[in-house]
């Protein structure tokens, strides 16, 4: 299985990096860019054949390490 985890700051938590990128895009002539958020993507292989089990394992990894639930939310994708 291929796991892909996208981690972003929660809505409502000020993303100062996203804000800086947004201002830069405006400066480059794209004033229509709005609500820019900067996050990270973590990908890895997972040696298991059971997709549901893989998902629950990866969710647990997010809770324990990959994301900080105090400030971040995450989305998990599992592909065979």
């Amino acid at each position: 299985m291929k796991a892909s985890v996208r981690v972003f700051l929660k809505p409502g938590v000020l993303d100062v990096q996203g804000k800086a990128v947004e201002n830069a895009l405006h400066g480059l002539g794209w004033p229509q860019a709005d609500n820019v958020r900067v996050g990270r993507v973590i990908t890895f292989d997972l040696a298991t054949a059971d997709q549901a089990k893989a998902r629950s394992e990866v969710e647990a990894m997010c809770q324990r390490l990959l994301a900080n639930p105090v400030i971040e939310s995450y989305q998990v994708e599992i592909d065979p």
Binding site: Q17, A20, N68
Partner: protein, 220 residues
């Protein structure tokens, strides 16, 4: 009196902490490698120092929070031993969920390194008693992820329970409610972003940090 300073790969204030504690309190200081799963007996204070533990990979403090020594630190804290996380050490304590909230990128996206004036908000804690009537302290900050964040309910609780130990007089990094240092529920775990270990004698520009160590361990 006996103290320990934890050394993570990437710590860079570990020796500063040792010297600061020895000179301001006369306590014996053991250096404990992050891979140890036991701490020396009879500790009165454990310090998690500043630096970039594990390269600050993933998030500042995230990897260090999982290191073997942190299990022992947690057990000691539960027994009531004083634990102080300074700068990166504060980040480790929040990542380990031994303190609430999180430390986020500074609002101006800049590394901030300068002397700051602090209010000693609560001078009746194990870490602040020696400040007494002297409710101002000068220390230096040096951080990139120093903006304290917690939800409103948590912030209100910290405030209501007297668990905000230090506040910035002029907020250098966007820290919510100007928070510079907080305590856990038991009052024996402190996270502080400014460095008392860089302010323990007048030659360093301030000796106010010495009072923090003296509060826990007594004066030299």
């Amino acid at each position: 009196m006996k103290a320990a300073v934890v050394v993570f790969p990437g710590s860079n204030c570990d020796r500063d902490c040792k010297v600061a504690i020895e000179r301001s309190t006369g306590a014996k200081v053991a250096m404990v490698w992050h891979g140890e799963s036991e701490l020396p007996d009879g500790l009165d204070l454990i310090v998690l120092p500043g630096g970039f533990a594990y390269g600050d990979y993933l998030r500042a403090g995230a990897m260090a929070a999982l290191s073997p020594v942190m299990g022992a630190v947690r057990v000691a804290a539960d027994r009531g031993v004083a634990v102080a996380g300074i700068c990166n050490g504060f980040q480790v304590l929040t990542e380990a969920a031994m303190l609430p909230g999180a430390l986020m990128r500074n609002q101006a996206l800049k590394y901030v390194c300068k002397a700051v004036e602090l209010d000693v908000v609560n001078a009746q804690t194990r870490f602040t008693a020696a400040y007494g009537e002297n409710r101002r302290a000068v220390m230096t900050v040096g951080n990139n992820e120093g903006a304290y964040f917690a939800d409103g309910e948590t912030l209100n609780r910290l405030e209501g329970e007297g668990r905000i130990a230090f506040r910035y007089r002029e907020n250098p990094n966007g820290s919510l409610r100007d928070i510079a240092g907080i305590l856990d529920e038991g009052g024996n775990v402190l996270g502080i972003m400014p460095h008392p270990d860089r302010a323990f004698e007048a030659a360093l520009g301030s000796a106010d940090g010495a009072l923090l160590f003296q509060s826990v361990l007594g004066a030299a």
